[in-house]
Symmetry: C2
Subunit: 691 residues, 2 copies
């Protein structure tokens, strides 16, 4: 997005309101009302062919009649008239048009037709389009409330440095009013609607260089235009402007689980999670944290998460402090007690420790000096990654006194966050006004803190070969060969013609005999697998049995070849898969073996490729693998080799020869520590090679 386009969107010198109504309070009248109410000083051109004036102002009969070509046209008409207006904008040379109307979704005859018409218009001009189904844009400081969202009647609008982009228009209004309540203000706000032309990522990317913007809040209904989103995220990370996102869709997670297909197994929401995390975006799950988490995100540098995030909780209210400890620990943070050196420094202040992890200042006296000194000690103690202060009822009655020591301590390299236990809106606003992250609930604090610590360093753009959805599915033997080429081995195997078997078992016993076919996704289901084969005689029996079973279950298939493979025993069993998500791109999945992945949704998803450190994080996230860590005296598994195998499979995402559409090694046996891992079944789909 050019600087001119960004300016036309958020700071035009003139805007046309096409279809502006004369009836006060109607959504189509509101943009004019709001622009006047908030004192925007650009030129406003109401366009209404039926009236000479709207709301007491001169109205033009058509875009072509305007005294000047507007930078921005907000089109408030129904969808077919909107297409006409967009066409006129294109002809006149308007920079950007925002279309409010619904009715442009694909899949209906009208929607499809209108999309074709818009596409033609845009392809033939320099016009850019926001929406359709956009509720508009706003620049709060200038009063450019170019929207029909009723919430913009707010007086005054909350000006600040957070940029809001939302796929839902109505939520923009909720965020506006909640910002007012919280004392959090906004720079630009945009409802991107259907993202037919301008995407959420594109508009945010342009806002990254806006000096009025310090951080971003995204409300996402789905992941789309992920390339733009990724480019934005990289730019935001470079400029140190953090991004916090709330995304709908958690409840679908896992509903569509299926072990047979890596993609379905991962679930859309887990893929979205992986995408956001990989791009340094803090995903919160409470609506409050989307705004309350902004200041915290600015204070916590994006860095690969340490294994434990150690948090000190210091309180002047026992019960409230305990609530904070409970919520933070429940969310997976480690509420840590101070080290002896810190204990000694606190003791000098009269602060007793030893009440578990909570540092309670009540007995030492909650004076300015004690609180300030205790916070300074904790903020300079190397054993904490963050400090949480929990003030009590005084925050309601003497907010300035109560939060002063916190504000005065907050300028430390360790982030300091506050959970205010009573209802104390003034204290919250004072803290936030001073840049101190402050939270109304312990739940929102725990959510925001987890989300900002979970962010991964933004990955550089990876060259991924263009891959279609279709491809050629390789048989088990050929699939092993692909995995082997990147370093994931399988046990010794021999492929034999079913009609021409040797006398002796060609691999060390015991062996497994399996039908070999690229047409059979589930060999066991058709009797195509015999385990525990001890010698040549048993092998021949096994092959005969397999031929009989498969002939019954799948009369269309002939069993020409079998694979005879040495059986091995692991200490744990997992699935490693590579899939290409149509939105997010290549992902790698590590899942518990067998039915556990389904029953317990026990899996970890990352954008592919991953490095060793990310692979280790994935291993930590799959709970069933705790048995391979020497759990209850069990033998340790070779998790170092497992990490290498995950890296190897994930790197198939960038392989040019072959180009892999999808790969799944399932199960992969984790052998004892030092003995490696082995894939004992595999399906790889490669792209069809050109002529």
């Amino acid at each position: 997005m050019s600087a001119d386009l960004y300016r036309a969107l958020f700071a035009p010198s003139s805007v046309a309101l096409v279809g502006a109504s004369d009836v006060r309070g109607k959504p189509t009248a509101r943009p004019l009302e709001f622009l006047r109410q908030h004192g925007w000083n650009g030129d406003v051109y109401p366009v209404n062919p039926k009236r000479e004036t709207v709301l007491g102002e001169h109205a033009w009969s058509a875009l072509a009649e305007l005294p000047a070509v507007p930078d921005h046209a907000l089109i408030l008409t129904p969808p077919d008239a909107a297409v006409d207006a967009v066409r006129q904008c294109a002809e006149l040379g308007v920079t950007v048009a925002t279309v409010v109307a619904d009715g442009f979704l694909p899949g209906t005859p009208d929607g499809d037709r209108r999309r074709r018409e818009l596409r033609e218009i845009l392809d033939g001009s320099s016009l850019r389009l926001l929406g359709p189904s956009s509720l508009g844009v706003a620049t709060v400081a200038s009063g450019f409330a170019c929207t029909g969202n009723a919430a913009f009647a707010e007086e005054p609008l909350p000006s600040g440095d957070v940029f809001i982009a939302s796929q839902s228009g109505s939520v923009l209004g909720a965020l506006l009013s909640r910002g007012v309540e919280m004392g959090i203000g906004f720079a630009g706000m945009v409802s991107v609607g259907n993202e037919f032309d301008i995407s959420l990522g594109e508009v945010c990317l342009a806002a990254v260089d806006d000096p009025a913007v310090s951080s971003f809040a995204l409300f996402l209904e789905n992941l789309s235009h992920t390339g733009d989103l990724a480019a934005f995220a990289r730019a935001a990370a470079e400029r140190g402007k953090p991004v916090v996102a709330y995304k709908l869709g958690r409840s679908d997670d896992g509903a569509r689980l299926s072990v047979s297909h890596t993609g379905a197994l991962a679930g859309d929401d887990a893929v979205a999670d992986a995408f956001l995390r990989a791009h340094g975006i803090a995903r919160v799950v409470t609506f409050d944290a989307l705004l309350e988490g902004q200041l915290l995100a600015r204070r916590v540098p994006i860095a690969r998460a340490p294994a434990e995030r150690r948090v000190a909780v210091v309180s002047t209210t026992g019960g409230g402090g305990a609530m904070a400890v409970d919520c933070l620990a429940h969310a997976g943070l480690r509420v840590a007690a101070p080290e002896p050196v810190t204990v000694a420094r606190l003791a000098e202040l009269g602060v007793e420790t030893g009440h578990g992890a909570l540092i309670d200042l009540t007995l030492a006296g909650a004076t300015y000096d004690t609180i300030k000194a205790a916070l300074d000690v904790l903020l300079s103690a190397p054993e904490f990654d963050a400090v949480v202060a929990v003030p009590g009822s005084s925050a309601r009655f003497t907010p300035d006194v109560s939060v002063k020591p916190i504000i005065d301590s907050a300028d430390a390299s360790t982030p300091l966050a506050v959970f205010v236990v009573p209802s104390a809106p003034q204290a919250l606003q004072l803290l936030r006004g001073s840049g101190v992250p402050a939270f109304r609930t312990a739940e929102s604090l725990a959510d925001a803190m987890t989300a900002v610590f979970d962010r991964a360093p933004v990955r550089p753009e990876t060259a991924v070969p263009p891959v279609g959805a279709d491809g050629i599915t390789l048989d088990e033997d050929a699939s092993y060969a692909v995995l082997d080429s990147v370093g994931l081995a399988s046990p010794p195997r021999v492929v034999l013609a079913a009609d021409d078997l040797p006398a002796e078992l060609p691999v060390p016993a015991p062996a497994v005999v399996k039908v070999l076919s690229d047409q059979l996704a589930h060999k066991s289901d058709v009797g195509g697998v015999v385990l525990g084969v001890a010698d040549g005689t048993q092998m021949r029996t096994a092959v005969a049995d397999i031929r009989t079973s498969v002939a019954t279950a799948r009369p269309d298939l002939g069993v020409d070849r079998v694979i005879v493979q040495q059986m091995v025993r692991g200490v744990a069993e997992v699935l490693i898969g590579l899939r290409r998500d149509p939105d997010a791109g290549p992902i790698v999945v590590l899942a518990a073996g067998g039915v556990l992945a389904e029953v317990y949704r026990d899996r970890s998803v990352r954008m592919a490729p991953v490095d060793r450190e990310q692979a280790c994080e994935m291993i930590d996230e799959v709970r069933s693998l705790s048995v391979a860590k020497g759990f209850r005296g069990a033998p340790r598994g070779d998790l170092e080799a497992l990490a290498a195998a995950i890296v190897a499979v994930s790197r198939l995402a960038v392989s040019a020869d072959p180009v892999v559409v999808e790969a799944e090694a399932n199960p992969v046996l984790v052998l004892r520590d030092g003995e490696g891992v082995l894939a004992v079944d595999a399906v790889v789909t490669v792209a069809e090679t050109g002529p």
Copy 2:
């Protein structure tokens, strides 16, 4: 608690303030300040031996000097002086004394001494004691703010019909101010402190018959005095006065897991959960829901939860409605689309359905008539157990208009709850003022709704034999006999003298041979188990091997007897245990077999005994049992027999002969449907019988 005592606590005619300070704003001066500020009209007697006046009022030098015996003495002095004051109260015939001081916890010499002194005083008099470490009590309507909690400077205090009891004093203040913000008011408020004499349950039980009280909010740090709590819960349920509780301790859950001991496996917090649920108490996990959930709890009758709780979500704001759907579904409720009849009735109103589960009124026009009519349709539709309305920005600007249709529809048998998407405190207060449950966040709504639907019908008091912690651990054979006596069978077995083995296997092959001893908790760990024994020869070898292994690992034990048992195969394997929690009483645990219970914390806990329906709920909660429900074509397990086995083990809680201290069948094999379940290992501890 007598009516006199309840009156002395919350509505005394006179109160003495022992240790009242003359320094305005000090915690010890505040009770007098607050009683005057809020216009309480009883007699107040400040007692301060060092001053003739405090805060301009006459002060008495000692309790004995007062012109009348006060009903209630609030003792504000340090702990040793407090003990003296309590003694004087006892001598004078004061009804109740509230002690604020800390310093009475057991385990320290001073604490133990003071507890002994208090015990002696109370045992020798009619005086009752609240605290120590109580922050006091309040009756809001009368202005009886008998507390030093700074929050009671609130003007005016929020009067209402919620009764608050808290184990944390400081949280009382936070709830007070949050109630003000929410428009939720209180009848009585009490900080119970250490519950040395008067317990939280006892004071709440007395409040159940207070006509000013409609429901209860409990803030719990731990479960204690559970007998009183249970009696209160039963009385509250009888009177239809719901109880909502927030309990600390979720983060400890599972940290102390251990499969070897049922009690540790359950985890304290899971036991607390089971206790609260069994007593019809709605446990919320967000602080907001403790108050916001009050009105919802009044509207949802306590009933055993149906398998699905079907919720309709109707919105005038797409994004906000989607947030509600996502949060409710994520919390485990079923957001359901309307049935065809309802769809047709909505269509008559111009309301289109078919956007997934969300019913969006935006296109139909969010007028009073449309909203009211749509709500009436949904509230009378039999397919919904609750309806959620989600108003948008209009709730902020025209709160009365926006919430009127909701208020006018709410008087239906189906509960109606509201999530207000923008910041709209007035709309929230209007709704709540009309008795409509209204929520500031979708997260709090989902939390409260789950909690109130999760409540079980209150169980009648069960006669549980008095059981000590110690007992006699039975060997495997005797343990089977106990389980068998209540109906949990085990596979055919024979106990043999290790020195006198028969020639043939005495049970059908294959068999397992196990050392039989009441001294060996983990037979396998010492080589005391041999599986897959096919005949008499193998049996003799097995016994010899076991003798060698056990002699090496445990030279103190001789292997005199072995158990030879037929091996069986199940489709799933679980643990069923009975334990007696020192606080909550007998609990029954159903857990996934093997390491799964630990790795995935996959278990369900209930108070024992349970009935078949509760046992079925437990089966539904153990995720690994989904494999026994025909998951992915696997054979179905006999879950009806499993339910019967859970009931059987749970009924050991009330068995008088033998009196069972603890029982654990692990594993229990679930056979194919119709074939039953079998315990294949068991340990039962019975109480020592008297002489």
